[in-house]
Symmetry: C2
Subunit: 317 residues, 2 copies
């Protein structure tokens, strides 16, 4: 399915990473800049252009047939624009046109970062071989993406799979998005830590109040830390079960910092899934930790660009 | 897209309807039997075979190129079996093989009844022209189906779109399915009526305690009746917003008895949607009442069979 070479961009609030990626998902050339997230839109774009300039300067650039972009969201793939929450200088910013101009008019494919991670896990990670999968990132926020019928499902605007902002507690706490009881509001790292602190958990001598510290306390048997992870697992299970019940998936892959917590997350998660995933066609649903590392965004953006090229070739375009 | 003639079966707990349907969705021949829902599996199957016998006796039968079945669920399209909750004699019943045998070995396409309704609304009803839609039936239960990327999304087993059994209240009331706070547990007709009665609403002289009676009371301004519909609308909105956030839909079509309640449902529903559908790519989401009548199941089953035929022709099968 994936052949030749494409350029990939992974654009987040902290860094802008770029790469040339071959048809086996190997990264051949890399470039990176910090995201000047507090600057104006053109300044942020200049950092993207510097990354692209390093890639186009490579002798391999001539083999690149397209550019894939995985960007912090929301994105609008139909308009070719992005409005990342953490990059206020970009609102409806015409990223696709600007990247195309900087990349010699190659075709550009834009997807959200959760969709990119999903493309990577489906191509080379924990969702490989699964035709219907949900892949999630549980860390500062909760994001995700879907594979349906063997193909990435970005949706018309490239944002599908935003499981962090479905409500699983309709009377629950207000979420910064404006809704109530969102999965992210209950299960993200900062919310796991907040809940533990509110319920009396205290950090060790190092003062570390991160979700990773709560996970360590949970592993050591601290009941408040355990309970905070159990509540996160319950929200994740309700969200995963809802996804399976709506679109039929057979695996949910969980990455990100919280996803690395191991058994303190996955044990209560599997237990809670048996509560919420009740119908016959979702009972076989499994959960698994993500396998892709920090390059998932780049590899996934490349996968999306390569898949688009393959589709176009199949259609005779 | 839809040409020629197919046979359609709409199998529910009360009746088994059959028809020959042309490529424009017109019903040319009809047959129907009550469902002997409390009898053993073979007795139920005999009723299906009687319906099919009427269809095969038609002079038009020779033009039929396939059979579409929309069945009460759960179904398993991959195995060709059905296990309708309200037909206990059918558990993993090999309906596809039995219908194929009774229909001269024509190809048979099986989908769940929510998916069938969706196919009908997308073909000829309120979802026509929408490439990404959720269609729902809100009555004794809450069912649904999805159109994604311009095509029906039945999922591998034909059950996708089961919005009635996603949890929007993870600590909520136990649902008969085993989960908690399901959309159906809050928004179905019987639950609208139960909640109104529990909160002090009393029926009129006719003693009618149906959701329709609660709707009439709400239209007349009874605050308890209004509140019960508002709560149902809130649960439906959370479920619809979750669906849009997960897969990107731009319309939700609501049919069934409760869907006919009109403004007492749709006004609070639209208001609640603005609370739960918050992300940029779901804010434009609209809701609309269903347009198809009681033949929706038959027309939708026919649509699925015709679409399958078209796919097979396109693939050179």
């Amino acid at each position: 399915m994936y052949t030749d070479l494409v350029a990939a961009l992974d654009i987040g609030g902290t860094k802008i990473a770029g790469a040339l990626v071959d048809g086996h998902g190997r990264i051949l050339v890399r470039a990176q800049r910090p995201t000047p997230a507090r600057e104006n839109g053109d300044t942020v774009m200049r950092a993207v252009e510097e990354v692209l300039a390093e890639l186009t300067a490579s002798p391999l650039w001539g083999r690149a047939s397209g550019v894939g972009i995985g960007s912090a969201g929301p994105v609008d793939a139909s308009a070719g624009t992005v409005s990342p929450v953490n990059v206020p200088g970009w609102r409806d910013f015409p990223l696709v046109a600007r990247v195309r101009a900087a990349a010699g008019n190659l075709p550009v494919e834009l997807i959200g970062d959760g969709v990119a991670i999903t493309a990577a896990e489906h191509w080379q990670g924990a969702a490989r071989g699964h035709d219907n999968a949900l892949c999630m990132v549980v860390s500062t926020g909760v994001g995700g993406g879907l594979v349906l019928g063997g193909r990435l499902h970005p949706g018309p605007t490239g944002n599908a799979g935003h499981i962090g902002h479905i409500s699983v507690d309709l009377d629950g706490d207000l979420c910064p998005c404006g809704s109530h009881g969102c999965v992210e509001r209950i299960a993200s790292g900062p919310n796991i830590a907040r809940r533990a602190l509110e319920n009396g958990w205290r950090p060790g001598a190092d003062g570390d109040t991160s979700a990773a510290a709560v996970a360590a306390a949970a592993r050591a048997g601290d009941p408040v830390a355990v309970a905070s992870f159990e509540r996160a697992a319950q929200a994740l299970a309700a969200g995963i079960a809802a996804t399976a019940t709506l679109v039929e998936i057979d695996i949910a892959v969980i990455g990100g910092g919280v996803g690395k917590a191991g058994d303190v997350l996955f044990e209560p998660l599997r237990k809670a899934l048996s509560t919420y995933a009740t119908l016959s066609f979702v009972r076989h649903l499994t959960v698994a930790p993500a396998q892709m590392g920090t390059d998932a965004g780049l590899v996934g953006a490349a996968a999306a660009a390569l898949a688009k090229r393959t589709d176009a070739a199949a259609a005779g375009v």
